[in-house]
Symmetry: C2
């Protein structure tokens, strides 16, 4: 649950690069590279970092070493490391590795949920209910994702009432925050405003986050739209990772640099040190040997500044 | 003067790719390539197209063939072709080539104006006064640009009151529309909203346009901010040209595809046929032999659609 008591004009960033970013990149980082990456994020001021997931390596080999990464994380006051778990077996592995903050996920599209995890939405929610009990018993923080909230590549339009109903179920299961995911970047600023206004009629801003992908180039504008209606927590990924650096144009999560730059330029505080964050992106780009997507990062590179 | 009588929810796009886009690209297109490009824009529904400039070829060799381009343009009902002129000599050359719509420019930063055209702002405005008289006599439409309105790379912050004063002078000189330029992409959505709200207290929306560059990745969000306060005309460049395709990360004008996609997704009408526009970008990319910047164009390419 990021941002337990935000000050005015404070916006919380949940960095999902080490998980949602890296899991969609062809290049696999070593455990040492991942740890250096995560340490850099902490040094740049990020306080909520999703460090990996406990899914079967057959499906996402990039995350096969998450347990090792978790075991070697440096504990830092005020920093929450999150791990994504798909089911109870994943939770057990996460707890065994010492995970203290767990994220669960379900899609608002039946087809997407089935393609993603081979279950109906109701089956996913039942699994999450059971899993959440065990996580709470273990003293874990719990965060939920709802996917495809502004549209599904298979089903098209998604009834936002269904999204809100699923969020309700995730809160009931014990999630402290629910992150609404525009999984394939289908939302428009108008849709974001209309939908999220409804979400905020139902839930407190602190209990909600927006998880944007930049597939069609609207992620930053959509973040602005969400900010306008009162959202205060955004998921993002350093460098805009999550597409594929070898397929020019494949855009991933909204870039942390891009959203942080916009927020700072508008007078919001994020706690993130942008030059230090750019240093993380630079190292990541060297690790990948490929160009990252974040527009602000590219700008900073082209000017040769500002990196510490 | 784009959008003489807009319907509700109609937004006007002024395509500046053949001028502001191409003049900043290292690769020079041939006259035939430029004409095919412009014809494609017309076929895609663009009605205001800046086709070139009459500046000395020593400064901008990419525009050296503008007179030839203008002479060979296809007249199409409802389409206005614009040419940029820096001074009276440029106007004479433009009129001789048959230009019917003329754009003039001045910076709101003394330093930038001097570096750009080696004159003070007052000298530029005096030149524009003289030039505008001749253009009116010749029956030309007249449009003015004010540069660096949200910040200057040399001077930093720009007093927006000065911007409004210069716009006033351009209207007095006979400009039907003044386009406010964020020349190096320094504006934030908050600044855009605050500044443009003031501009709209002084001038009608139809008399103003916003000319955004995506230098720091905020152009689309800034367009949204301008739309929110009532701007109805935007300059843009197909493919986001205007950076350099050989310097990854050098972002140019806001991409026409990006702004049109956002507008359409929000329910605005632009008169632009997006698939046909994407076909123009594809040909342009082939002409350049390099990747264009527009995020929506990259998305469309990655999906293999939608091009006619």
């Amino acid at each position: 649950m990021p941002a337990s008591s935000p000050q005015p004009n404070a916006i919380s960033i949940v960095e999902v690069g080490p998980r949602d970013g890296l899991q969609n990149e062809r290049i696999r980082l070593s455990v040492d590279q991942k740890l250096a990456f995560i340490d850099g994020l902490v040094a740049a001021g990020l306080r909520d970092i999703e460090v990996g997931s406990f899914v079967h390596p057959k499906w996402i080999p990039q995350m096969a070493d998450t347990a090792t990464v978790v075991r070697r994380l440096t504990n830092v006051d005020g920093v929450r490391y999150w791990a994504l778990v798909p089911n109870q077996r994943g939770l057990e592995a996460a707890l065994e590795a010492g995970v203290q903050n767990v994220a669960v996920f379900v899609s608002s599209s039946e087809t997407h949920n089935r393609k993603n995890i081979n279950r109906s939405i109701d089956e996913s929610l039942a699994e999450i209910d059971a899993l959440a009990g065990a996580a709470r018993t273990a003293g874990c923080g719990l965060r939920g994702y709802v996917s495809t909230v502004f549209g599904c590549p298979y089903e098209g339009a998604i009834d936002f009432e269904r999204v809100l109903g699923i969020a309700e179920r995730l809160f009931a299961a014990g999630c402290g925050q629910v992150s609404l995911g525009d999984t394939t970047g289908m939302g428009s600023p108008k849709q974001v405003r209309d939908s999220l206004t409804r979400a905020l009629e139902r839930f407190d801003a602190q209990k909600l986050a927006l998880h944007l992908h930049d597939t069609r180039g609207l992620a930053v504008a959509n973040a602005l739209a969400a900010l306008d209606v009162g959202f205060t927590t955004f998921d993002s990924s350093v460098g805009g990772m999550g597409g594929c650096p070898y397929a020019p144009g494949a855009a991933g999560n909204v870039g942390t640099e891009d959203i942080v730059n916009m927020l700072h330029a508008m007078g919001y505080a994020t706690g993130v040190d942008l030059p230090k964050l750019l240093a993380v992106s630079r190292r990541l780009e060297a690790d990948f040997g490929a160009t990252l997507n974040s527009a602000y990062f590219r700008y900073a590179k082209s000017t040769g500044r500002p990196t510490p």
